[in-house]
Symmetry: C2
Subunit: 782 residues, 2 copies
């Protein structure tokens, strides 16, 4: 009972195939919708003729941008209120942009009808490369309604530039490197989809959707389309993975709703894999130039970064990804620097909208990768051991709470202890000996280290002015008369095991068995308001809310027990699951007895309500800061470019672990993700803006074949401001692992004089790097 | 906005035929269940052979009591934990008692299968009459598990018998009368039914049912069957009338659940009219002897009552109906007496379980009828005008709060004012002249008066020891970011207009339009715990909870507004829909603006959570006491027994009226009900215990043809302890009207020397009364 390893409660249905995903939702009379998409990355739309499609038997509606304009629904699809109309009207700005939506009796008829729609396009010159976007004479992608005359989006800075420049000017060593975090896609197993059901009589709109943020979606639907918020119910049933890609509002959600309003029937929209890979959730695409300043004995003094951020044709999904708050927040990583500054320029290109917070909020992943790569670049130049260089510069326990050069406050940590543990686990010093011996034999082994700090649990009010959104999450706990409980959360799960973890928190606080506690989420009609699951915020925010709400219930139970036992509440002592009279443990009432009494005829003190329920909304006073030390060991064959990840040691400190088994599962997934990014994942485009990663045969994801048997370690530094000291772990490994893998490969390639090479380190790119040739990121499978 | 006449929001769907009743619920793979019922009122079950039924193609399960015993579900059907097994095993105790349940692919197959079940019965002698139940040698109905040796259930008393006897002994005038309130049935348009859906994988049991008390049902299912409470969801969708008959748990609800557990499929059970009329909700059946003591000039001094209560074969439905709390509470009516005492004896008979609180809690209807009939009997003996006699004895305004002889406290009232208003409306004095003139012409007109007080809103803790149940109800209010709201209530509606009334209370308190407020109820997964809708308690209890929860939200809004306007909360003033700075009305924030700010990045004071939600559970400090003065004018033809209700004046005081249109609709319904009871409704049985009212052709309900154009008046005496001063009105007219109609008919028959005649005053009974013959209540249609 309480914290500890236990099997996931939700698996009872998943392993039996009884999950209920959006595509399992089939309503009586339901119609099916499908999109016509642009074949061009940049083209004028001269005309759209839908008459043949409309005439096809079984077609119920053909919706174009012109049709949308006749409705009184001012639809824009993103949480950031971008100006992207859900259907292109004047021109298309990326390949596979949505042009029309057919609603028909079934999916096959809808697809057939798409082929009958005649669209006349006038192709325009394409900007497929961020670096060309701002070049003089570059085609202007968005020149219509916004009055734009170039492809510039924003130019934002953080840190003290003057001070940083001064430190650089006075430093012994300055090293610069161009580092790309390429465009990738989170690619969960389940694509995006929705079933919308509008009831004309009651005005009630029910949307089953794959969203990670049902409440935020509801509010946006209300704000943007003017639908009455209390008549909107967003249900996200079981979700097959999200990784940040299901936070935003895509045109499909909107068109399912519009389709249902227009036809008066439920409408299902479900992406196929190609649509999902080409028109939804693109991330990263950060072209970074890092500069690091240090003393010649390896004390790092300052970091200076310039970023060119490729946002594609629109600022997709959530606002925070547009503003690089996380990058600014944490680009100095886990190190004690004198100064740091950073500039990020955003540009439009003719690609699908980018900037999704793929398994890490607000560009933290890019920052973590940059700084860990720069440390190794500095080590390369100083000819220092990268572990030694890190040890020399890591923040010390006494420095916490630590204020970063950009003004954020890391809550707690013992970084050297975590790195030392990882080094002990891998046998670091022996391994360096082995590496040298192997090299003698012509075998290229690499050891890569990455140390990361992640700020999670968005977010505290003090940073609200940056994030621009309320950031609280709610929890409501009801203990029924017989002592069974239901916990209702604003956050939703996409596989993280919320139904187990949150039940365990209540169990720990109240002594009720986790089996007697159901967790309800993913339904705006059944849960309190909150921002949803992303940025590893479920445990930091909703976990805190859950502990608090359980404690509120316990406080109430104390009063009820005092009335039952006829003693003062102060004379009672709590022992998991019951209150007893101090000094007389036989005089006790269990939480179950108290629950029944609270709902019955018991006389309670004046003003005390008869129930065992409580509600809370938690707005964290600060982020929590999980961290970790990762060490990756690879064998590289420079002749074929083949990389074999032999070992991977991950020491994670996410504070108190509620269910270690679930924590480890989360870490396993993130580590695999890191191997994917480092070695294979790449969303490439050709110079005409054509997608080169439009299927899972072209866009490669890691499998168990590429993964070693993970070796996990832990340290526990509780968050001082979190009620149960937990920090969140959902994205840690995705943040921390890419640099470890890349550093390992480049460590193996050091004998070839390679200081840096960009991801993905596919066999051909590894071969190129060893040959001193440039890395290619404009090709698909290599 | 707020209180006042407005159309019912729910009618938008009802008038379009878009209501969703239990019988509209059809789930994939759903099976249908039907009962085999006993043809005998009293018989031993020798054997049950289900083999032929089981062999019928399409039959999925045949469940008998023996099958039930093999399951680990200890099912008893009633809220009072009566010992009635849901299926008879050893013997049957009333006609149409449930013997077996067939679950089949459709309803037709289930019905066919019933005919294949062979049951061997051994008929036993029947007790069909309450007065015979305690006679020496009467067959003992329940002698099996309880070790009973006679048909006695209970013998309870209230009031000071000694003092009452002393007052009687010293009084000028003592009059006694035997008064029957016959057995009736509430007969809503929709019969009872359920769809149960048990999910073996998740253990979740969802029950769509016609219950008036979804939360109480859930808890009982958990307690009685050991099903985990948090895995049970009771949904009562739109309900086609209840009138108290849908409070209890009937065997059908249980068997639908058992059927679903056994077959693994959803199971629907839906009564037909015959089943509903013979096996569910019987009420009244009170054989009362009243004695009244007075001075010779008409000052009433004391009341003494003996009741023989026919409860049928089991104590059906809710506990409180077994204990005559309401009768004890209010049997002295609206009058100022020196003393009163009362005794109620309960007996078993071979009839379907009785004691349902049909449109009035805990026997209040019987009490109101008794006292108003006794007043007229006294007036008859004293040859006084019944209005004058009432005026002389009504409680005076200065006497409130008034403690009754049995210790209950009437909250507020101005009784003489209400009676005077009714007399003025009808033109009482002129009407008496007209009556005398008519009699001269051989026309028999009658004027009947009834004054009633009803105690509603069960219930305050101080009477908990009597009622034996927690009596609180919950309300939860969420104001969404855009300022639209959802109110969640533990009570459910069966047609009372909750979706409108409760939205109006929130509107009144917060200045949000009722159209922007949805009321959610009838779903245990979506609402806080509470006892449900009966005893006119929705407005007294949940109405109070709603006002309180809205005020909690307003208090919270004040804090948010103070942060927005940067002033102290105390410097703000509330004006419907907004807060403004005292002395500077332009500095204002609307509730909608406040809602958005509460959910956003606004910096709130330490410890203040960022939302506009609140929850409450209201446990009333006392009952509320609506009252009223009714006057009925009838024309009677003594030759045919025909009664024509010419006029009906109803002055109701239910405190503050939230939506007068809905109040009037409630009164209209109750008045019709009173005409039905007085003139036609009767659940008769023959001497073998056979039902004589098993269809709506035999059990007569009033229609518009029998009803006059109602003339309604009102006085307003707010309840001093209710947050908005409302008192509840759902049952008032059912309580008050039968005596007015009966008194009118008997007033018309006074020339024939008739002092009393029992309901129903059907043409044949009126004819009999005029002839001096005994009233018959053992016949169906007459």
């Amino acid at each position: 009972m309480g914290f500890g390893r236990m099997h996931r409660k939700e698996d009872a249905r998943f392993v039996r195939g009884k999950g209920n995903y959006v595509d399992d939702v089939n309503l009586p009379g339901m119609l099916h919708g499908s999109f016509l998409r642009s074949p061009y990355a940049h083209a004028k739309i001269v005309s759209i003729d839908t008459s043949a499609a409309e005439a096809l038997p079984g077609v119920k509606a053909v919706i174009t941008g012109a049709v949308l304009e006749t409705l009184s629904l001012a639809w824009m699809p993103t949480l950031s209120y971008d100006t992207q109309a859900v259907l292109a009207t004047d021109k298309v700005r990326f390949q596979n942009q949505e042009v029309a939506f057919v609603v028909a009796d079934n999916h096959y008829i809808a697809r057939d009808a798409l082929e009958l729609i005649e669209v006349e396009y006038e192709p325009l010159p394409v900007v497929a490369d961020a670096k060309q976007a701002l070049a003089p004479g570059a085609p202007v992608i968005r020149d219509d309604k916004e009055g734009k005359t170039d492809n510039h989006i924003f130019d934002w800075s953080a840190g003290d530039k003057e001070k940083t420049d001064a430190v650089f000017a006075s430093s012994d060593v300055v090293v610069a490197e161009d580092i790309l975090y390429p465009r990738v896609h989170p690619s969960p197993l389940e694509t995006c989809g929705a079933v919308a059901d509008f009831d004309k009589v009651t005005g009630k709109l029910t949307i089953y959707s794959t969203t990670q943020a049902p409440h935020a979606h509801r509010t946006v639907y209300a704000l943007v389309a003017g639908l009455p918020e209390h008549k909107i119910r967003v249900i996200s049933p079981d979700i097959g993975g999200g990784f940040g890609g299901k936070v935003g509002i895509y045109p499909g959600y909107v068109l399912a709703i519009v389709g249902s309003i227009v036809t008066g029937k439920p409408v299902k929209w479900m992406e196929d894999r190609n649509e999902h890979l080409t028109a939804t959730a693109f991330a990263r695409d950060y072209h970074m130039r890092g500069e690091i300043a240090a003393t010649k004995d390896g004390k790092i003094r300052a970091l200076r970064v310039d970023v060119l951020a490729d946002h594609g044709a629109f600022n997709g999904t959530a606002q925070p990804t547009k503003f690089p708050a996380g990058f600014f927040h944490i680009f100095t990583g886990s190190y004690d620097l004198e100064a740091a500054s950073c500039n990020v320029k955003g540009v439009y290109t003719n690609k699908a909208p980018g900037g999704v917070a793929y398994a890490c909020s607000f560009r933290i992943t890019e920052a973590a990768y940059l700084v860990e790569r720069m440390i190794d670049v500095l080590a390369f130049e100083l000819k220092m051991d990268p572990a030694e260089l890190r040890m020399k510069n890591l923040l010390q326990p006494a420095q916490f709470p630590y204020t970063t050069p950009t003004g954020w406050e890391y809550d707690s940590g013992d970084y050297p202890k975590a790195l030392r543990l990882a080094m002990d686990m891998v046998g670091y010093e022996k391994l360096r000996v082995e590496q040298a011996e192997k090299l003698q034999r012509g075998e290229y082994m690499g050891i890569g280290i990455s140390f990361f700090t992640e700020g999670v649990g968005a977010g505290p009010r003090k940073h609200m002015d940056i994030l621009g959104l309320g950031m609280a999450d709610g929890a409501e706990l009801r203990v029924h008369p017989t002592g069974k409980a239901v916990l209702r959360l604003s956050v939703q799960t996409q596989g993280q095991g919320h139904e187990t973890t949150f039940a365990q928190i209540v169990a720990e606080e109240l002594g009720i068995s986790p089996d007697d506690i159901d967790v309800v989420h993913g339904d705006t009609d059944q849960t309190p308001f909150g921002l949803g699951t992303y940025g590893s915020r479920s445990t930091p925010v909703s976990g805190a809310a859950t502990a608090i709400v359980a404690r509120k219930v316990r406080d109430r139970a104390r009063i009820v027990a005092s009335a039952m036992l006829e003693v003062s509440p102060d004379d009672l002592e709590w022992e998991k699951g019951k209150f007893f009279v101090k000094g007389d443990p036989d005089q006790a009432k269990t939480i179950q007895e108290i629950a029944m009494a609270a709902h019955s005829s018991l006389e309670l003190p004046e003003g005390v309500e008869g129930h065992l329920d409580a509600t809370t909304v938690y707005n964290p006073p600060n982020l929590t800061y999980p961290f970790g030390a990762y060490i990756c060991v690879v064998d590289v064959d420079p002749a074929t470019g083949q990389v074999k990840v032999r070992r991977f040691i991950a020491v994670d400190d996410c504070g108190v672990r509620i269910n270690p088994m679930i924590v480890e599962g989360q870490v396993h997934g993130g580590l695999a993700d890191g191997i994917g990014m480092a070695l294979m994942q790449l969303m490439a485009f050709d110079e005409d803006g054509n997608h080169l990663g439009a299927s899972l045969m072209d866009y490669l994801l890691p499998t168990s074949l590429e993964c070693p048997s993970w070796e996990l370690g832990e340290t526990v530094t509780p968050s001082p401001h979190h009620p149960i000291g937990a920090k969140g772990v959902g994205e840690s490994a995705t943040v921390g692992s890419p640099a470890a893998v890349v550093n390992a490969v480049l460590d193996a390639l050091k004998p070839f004089g390679v200081r840096h090479a960009d991801m993905p380190l596919t066999p051909s790119n590894v071969w190129r790097a060893a040959q001193g040739r440039p890395i290619r990121t404009d090709l698909a499978i290599q």
